[in-house]
């Protein structure tokens, strides 16, 4: 019997583990190794340089810029997406008929949920290419075209969108325009998530609150929101990962993939540029390791902050 188990487990695990080691683990290990060398690419010499690449990272102007842009997305993407998603979930679930089973949700809430979820099933690339046309800098674009038509924007001086490096509130305008797309595409998904969480709260909790004289606003802010804390913190962690992964939008939508004039560089775009355009593989790997350490620290930090006693119901 024991022998049978060993053979079975080995048989079931061998292929997945082998594939994973070869295509996921090994590249990561290699990347860590290359980050200690001055390797340039496919050929040429490869010398051990110790931590030189990491020291260089600290004084790299471009990396510093990219780092702050990453931080910008890391704060704003979760903040705006969750705020909007909660607001929509609030309207969807708190409106509508009030009766003894609590509050029913507005008429047609099912339809709204289906529609709001649309962007989630579209690929980031489809979204990026679509928004590229919406953000066109001439009258042919959806937004500029509309604004020119109603006279709010001068046809000779349209909005530059992702080609606009001018700072707005201290951050290049192009980043705000990219943020808008991220929020547009994410809000519906998190609204559905929050709605589901709201509906899984037992009805008697609401009944008790209503019997105690709470109205729908009190119920939402004093009962629903605190009970959603777990879901919101999970959403925050996920959106944090998505924020680190804004590369698809930067790649498709900005001039020279990180432009104009490096105004929209993020870690991933600098890494790819350094590795594949400048041919500094060793240095690019050091950036990757730094990004990985940053990600892991961040995940650990977020888990620590959001950890709290669970309310079981």
């Amino acid at each position: 019997m024991r022998h049978g188990v060993a053979r079975f487990v080995t048989g079931f695990l061998a292929l997945p583990v082998a594939l994973y080691l070869l295509y996921v683990v090994w590249p990561f290990v290699q990347a860590a190794g290359y980050s200690l060398t001055d390797w340039g690419g496919f050929s040429g010499s490869q010398n051990f340089v110790g931590l030189d690449n990491y020291v260089r990272l600290l004084s790299d102007e471009l990396i510093r810029k990219a780092f702050w842009h990453n931080v910008f997305f890391l704060v704003t993407v979760p903040l705006f997406t969750i705020a909007l998603a909660l607001f929509l979930a609030f309207l969807l679930n708190v409106g509508g008929r009030e009766d003894r089973a609590g509050i029913r949700g507005v008429f047609g809430s099912g339809l709204y949920k289906i529609i709001f979820f649309f962007p989630q099933v579209l690929s980031l690339v489809v979204i990026a290419v679509m928004w590229q046309q919406i953000y066109r800098t001439d009258g042919q674009g959806l937004i500029n075209g509309m604004l020119i038509k109603i006279g709010l924007v001068d046809a000779d001086n349209p909005i530059a969108f992702t080609a606009d490096p001018e700072p707005f509130l201290g951050v290049p305008a192009v980043l705000w325009w990219l943020l808008l797309i991220a929020v547009w595409s994410g809000a519906g998904f998190y609204m559905v998530l929050f709605s589901a969480a709201m509906q899984s709260i037992p009805k008697d909790i609401f009944e008790a609150a209503i019997l105690d004289g709470a109205n729908r606003f009190h119920t939402f802010f004093r009962v629903t929101l605190p009970l959603l804390r777990d879901t919101i913190s999970v959403a925050w962690v996920y959106l944090g990962f998505i924020a680190l992964d804004m590369y698809a939008l930067v790649f498709v939508m900005t001039p020279s993939q990180g432009g104009p004039n490096h105004a929209s560089e993020i870690f991933a775009s600098v890494l790819n540029f350094t590795a594949f355009q400048k041919g500094q593989y060793g240095y690019a790997c050091a950036m990757g390791v730094a990004l990985a350490i940053f990600t892991i620290l961040l995940a650990a930090l977020q888990l620590r902050i959001t950890r709290r006693d669970r309310i079981e119901y």
Partner: protein, 317 residues
């Protein structure tokens, strides 16, 4: 099994059996305020719904205009004449047809293999005690936190070297992309199915073993069918995730030694959108985007309940 009890719980909660007479008078008093609030809710919800739907409709409608109309009347939603030829042109000249074929070929292999290997590994890790179990599980789990960009350079190099020994696993090969997709999808699939197999009762597996089924047989004919709800969720997750994948193909499906590229859809669309800057075939680009998004949207609308619960379950775990 678990869905059945879940459903029961839901029905129980919603049953209007408990009387609460106090509420009725209150509800009438709050009537006007509630109606104003409802109007306000609907106003905002409709505005956001329009912000989601309008761009999509605009893209589809622009795909049916001809080029001069796209430039002259960019905002109109109703084309003067329906130009279905845009789709034909994007399909053949824009190579959308071959992008689709490549994507479907790759996904047919990669999703099947991901599900099979992922649930096999998750099952062995979730239900058998052996030395190294935790180590292997955490190794798979760690893949969830590491950014793919870090692995880009060595992965590209590794695939390139592999192609020298095994041409089918080299760059720009369908089989290579299948294998890479599977490897990168294993982490989440195992993470998800592991927690699912944990919740299945021991007694049924034991009964099957007592009846003389082997471990393998127990898995395929008893446990796997019981895990169907989980498999559907993670299946949807993997189909969408791999369908939308753009970074790995852009990195690995590069033409080698002059042979034509076997682009998948996302990658092809990026190139199409970059190239149309020179050809200015706007209507063709809109047609391409439409063809890439309509199939997923239609599948989503048909299976919206499963898709919504499948994707949100992924976050909830």
């Amino acid at each position: 099994m678990s869905t059945a009890t879940h459903g029961l719980g839901r029905a129980d909660q919603a049953s209007p059996s408990r009387p609460a007479p106090v509420r009725r008078a209150d509800a009438r008093r709050a009537g006007v305020g509630a109606r104003i609030f409802n109007g306000f809710s609907h106003l905002f919800l409709v505005v956001w719904a329009l912000m989601v739907v309008y761009p999509l409709v605009w893209v589809v409608m622009s795909a049916l205009k001809n080029d001069s109309e796209v430039i002259r009347e960019p905002l109109s939603l109703i084309p003067s004449k329906l130009h279905w030829d845009n789709f034909a042109r994007a399909w053949t000249e824009g190579h959308l047809g071959s992008f689709f074929l490549n994507t479907v070929l790759v996904l047919a292999g990669s999703v099947t293999l991901t599900m099979l290997l992922g649930s096999m590994a998750a099952y062995a890790l979730a239900r058998y005690e052996f030395r190294g179990n935790r180590l292997i599980y955490y190794m798979f789990l760690s893949g969830l936190t590491l950014p793919i960009y870090l692995a880009a350079v060595p992965l590209f190099k590794g695939v390139y070297n592999m192609g020298i020994t095994f041409p089918l696993l080299g760059p720009n090969k369908h089989l290579m992309l299948i294998v890479v997709y599977v490897a990168w999808s294993l982490s989440f699939t195992i993470f998800f199915m592991h927690s699912f197999f944990r919740t299945l009762p021991d007694s049924i597996a034991e009964a099957a073993m007592v009846d003389g089924a082997s471990h393998t047989r127990t898995f395929f004919s008893v446990m796997l069918p019981m895990a169907k709800p989980g498999l559907i969720s993670i299946g949807i997750f993997n189909v969408l995730g791999q369908w939308n994948q753009w970074y790995l193909p852009t990195l690995l499906m590069q033409s080698v030694a002059g042979e034509p590229k076997h682009q998948v859809l996302s990658q092809g669309l990026i190139e199409l959108s970059v190239n149309q800057g020179y050809k200015s075939d706007w209507s063709g680009l809109f047609a391409g985007v439409t063809m890439a998004m309509l199939p997923v949207l239609i599948v989503y609308i048909v299976f919206q309940r499963q898709v919504q619960s499948g994707l949100t379950a992924g976050v909830g775990k």
